[in-house]
Symmetry: C2
Subunit: 197 residues, 2 copies
């Protein structure tokens, strides 16, 4: 049996995006966001949803740029702090000891200690209610060399990027692989699909 | 050392959304989408990115409604097939044996066997290039009773909803909990933040 629980935004999984921005005085800020995802492949684009009450909202509106930094498992406490604290009350980089670095591609800082940094320019904003959705065109991605294989393939299992679980409000490690995509489903292909190639 | 790899849309984690739609003849279709996420809390909204070549794209444009169905781990092969196959070449529900049910809330079918179904109305579309981003207002969520705790809390660990890993193109199970959100980061709070409450 199923129950109708009314409208809810909760899904699993959601990412742990640490979005880096500058304020009007070039002070770096970062905020943890689980509401967002990939928006387009070509050109590469991502979405992030931000409450207007957030300090980062003003920064995004002003500088029209942000980075997305994926936190490895060992930085879960820092990732959580970036979500709890506000840039209005203090400098989160100073509090955590993490290092903001000016991007050469967009007008925003990335986090040096995190090995996957997406450098994004705001192309669209959509006011949806409690949150404004920002679409960011990805101008470049910086990857720690330890996460790059010989063919340039991403080995991000080595970092253990976090997942946010909105049901029990926890951070989770990457889980084990259960199936290969674009492979496991072939068992359901019909004869006519197989003949079509 | 870090390397600039140019623009990329890849992030970890991405969800495994099975989006259900009707075509002009009320034939149900479903497609697997990893590009999407939460867009707003109040009103609840989600985003999905769909290529215009997809059969579901026409359905979305025509019916302005969709469901998001989260696949439990045991349906990984079915989830993959919904991404590989096209509704242009056959009925994916017939091929997998899964059951489409007409939503009472929106003009779209949900998947009976999947225990978390979000019923959404399209409110915005954004043509971003290879993909069009659809924003869906969540009108209702259906949850299997086995996933609801005594206080109505979600126990979706019991389902083991899948994650898509775009780096190695695999489906992953939920990983173990490493920290509690809104708690783990408190160790970085400064004295003035603590005094402010």
């Amino acid at each position: 049996m199923k129950k109708d629980i009314g409208p809810s935004e909760l899904v699993f999984p959601t990412p742990v995006f640490i979005a880096g921005t500058y304020d009007a005085n070039d002070v770096p800020n970062a905020v943890t966001l689980a509401w967002g995802g990939v928006a387009c492949s070509s050109p590469a684009a991502v979405s992030i949803a931000v409450r207007p009450s957030r300090y980062s909202y003003e920064n995004l509106m002003l500088r029209k740029a942000f980075t997305i930094n994926l936190p490895p498992a060992k930085y879960a406490k820092e990732a959580d702090y970036f979500g709890i604290a506000s840039g209005k009350n203090g400098n989160k980089f100073a509090a955590t000891g993490l290092t903001p670095v000016r991007s050469e591609f967009v007008d925003a800082p990335y986090i040096e200690e995190f090995p996957y940094n997406m450098e994004c320019e705001v192309t669209h904003t959509l006011d949806l209610g409690s949150h404004t959705l920002f679409i960011g065109a990805v101008k470049n991605v910086k990857v720690g060399e330890e996460l790059l294989g010989e063919n340039g393939n991403l080995l991000w299992e080595r970092a253990g990027f976090l997942t946010y679980d909105g049901a029990d409000r926890t951070y989770r490690l990457p889980g084990e692989i259960t199936e290969k995509a674009f492979r496991a489903g072939l068992i359901f292909r019909t004869e006519s699909e197989n003949n079509a190639g």
